[in-house]
């Protein structure tokens, strides 16, 4: 029981923004202090990274490399995401098949995919294909299990209602199972996409001649901490942008849901 009236949504949003700025300021201050004490050579400095970031962005170098990484991550997410969403929908009526697949899917989910990166490079070369393959292997299992959970949580009464109203199995998959699973599907992608971007970066780190991972690798080889941080900052921005895009898409698709209080909205 609370007697205090809930503050206006706008006020909550501003307060939240202010608090976030504060957190960033504290982190940057600590970083700057560290660079004075430990030495700029080891941890670079916020100012140095910002300047390098701006410089590399202006020259187009950072954008170009980020573009490669983004393209790999996006292609991998699409190639993995479509079957990862469709498979549980198709297999809904075939629990035996799901049961047969289960140990393999769990194995695929649990296997350390990043350890496959060298193998993928052997198989697919040092171009984009090997990076996309790693992203696929990371994204697929996360989205598959998230979708499967959503399909399993489906209210059987809605399916029954649709059957009585004359819907075929295909129509039920399209009009009942898929929309009911959308929140779970998004939950899966929200977890999978940052891992996917990280997988692209790591594959580039191992062997590539472009991409943010390549920048990190080059920076580290040349003992250029500032360059490493600038590339990592760009990768983080990519993740943030991807999450923002997914949240916007989810909001558009889930307009039918009752609104959530502002203070309950959490990222990512």
């Amino acid at each position: 029981m609370t007697d205090t009236p809930a503050p206006a949504v706008g006020a909550i949003r501003w307060r939240r923004l202010l608090d976030r700025v504060l957190v960033v300021a504290v982190i940057l201050a600590l970083w700057q202090l560290a660079s004075w004490h430990v030495g700029i050579y080891w941890v670079s400095s916020p100012w140095g990274v910002t300047a390098r970031f701006a410089e590399m962005t202006a020259s187009g170098e950072l954008i170009r490399h980020a573009g490669y990484t983004l393209a790999e991550a996006a292609a991998g997410t699409l190639i993995a995401g479509v079957p990862a969403v469709l498979l549980p929908l198709i297999l809904r009526r075939h629990p035996v098949l799901v049961a047969i697949l289960d140990p393999f899917m769990i194995g695929g989910y649990g296997a350390p995919k990043l350890a496959f990166a060298p193998l993928f490079i052997v198989w697919f070369g040092i171009g984009m294909e090997s990076k996309i393959a790693l992203v696929v292997s990371v994204v697929f299992f996360i989205v598959y299990f998230a979708t499967l959970n959503g399909v399993r949580a489906l209210d059987p009464k809605l399916v029954q209602t649709a059957q009585i109203l004359g819907a075929s199995e295909r129509r039920i998959a399209r009009h009942i199972v898929l929309p009911a699973a959308v929140p779970s599907i998004f939950a899966g992608f929200r977890i999978a996409v940052p891992y996917g971007i990280a997988a692209a970066v790591i594959a580039e780190l191992i062997s590539a001649n472009r991409g943010l991972g390549f920048l990190v690798q080059t920076g580290a080889t040349n003992f250029d901490t500032t360059g490493v941080f600038a590339a990592i900052a760009m990768a983080t921005l990519l993740v943030q942008a991807a999450i923002w895009l997914m949240n916007a898409l989810e909001r558009a698709l889930l307009r039918w849901r009752p609104p959530v209080d502002a203070w309950m909205e959490t990222g990512p």
Binding site: K157, L158, Q163, L165, G166, H175, W256, P258
Partner: protein, 263 residues
Amino acid sequence: MTALLEIRKLGKRFPARHGREPSPWVIQDLSFSVAEGELLTIVGPSGAGKSTLLNIIAQTDTASAGEIIVDGVPVTTRDPRALKPGIDRRIGYVTQDDNLLPWRSTLDNVLFALEVQDRLDDTGRARAQALIEAVGLAGFERYYPHELSGGMRKRTALIRTLVYDPPVILMDEPFAAVDAQTRTQLQADLLRLWEMGRKTIVFVTHDITEAIALGDRALVLSKQPSRIAAEHIIPIPRPRNVKDIFALPGFAATYEKIRADVQ
């Protein structure tokens, strides 16, 4: 009048599972028939197997004994996998929960059946709109279920079934979960819609007043194992005013008779 739906010696017990014995018979030797255009009400105490009975007729559950005959053709099956819910769109079912699709607006929920039956044309749209207006939902076509009141959701669920015009409509206490005033209004809405088309309706309720207000005939279910304990023709002429049903001649006597039969 010919029987459109006939139930013959229906029996139901739930199958053995996880080392348990099969359940006792919840329905046994239950027989009745419904004529075309009749509004039949079935009254029974809680736990009398009312929902189970309707589930079996709608083929979302199997019968353990007996037969169901729709339009002269037996449609019974004992195999859960051979069930055809709604028996090829011939049996509509308005359940206790509205089971509206939360991601579809009022209008899209009402149009759902026509859409999945590939019958969504201008006539269908016009019919949906007419029904929406008939139950006072005009202006709420674009609202989602969570934005509607309980009574509005019930109305949406009701016309979602009426819109595709199944020959028989089963109703399982559809108005049980709303307040008394809304319920009276919903009953009046239902009667008005029924007078327009005279559909065949089987309406199950635990409320004797509701059974009298709506029905041409009321059947009383016994306690488990449930069977038909009594049959009462409702002597109140139509059109009936649901709000003043208590005051109409014949109501009190019928109420007393049914109450005596409901255990």
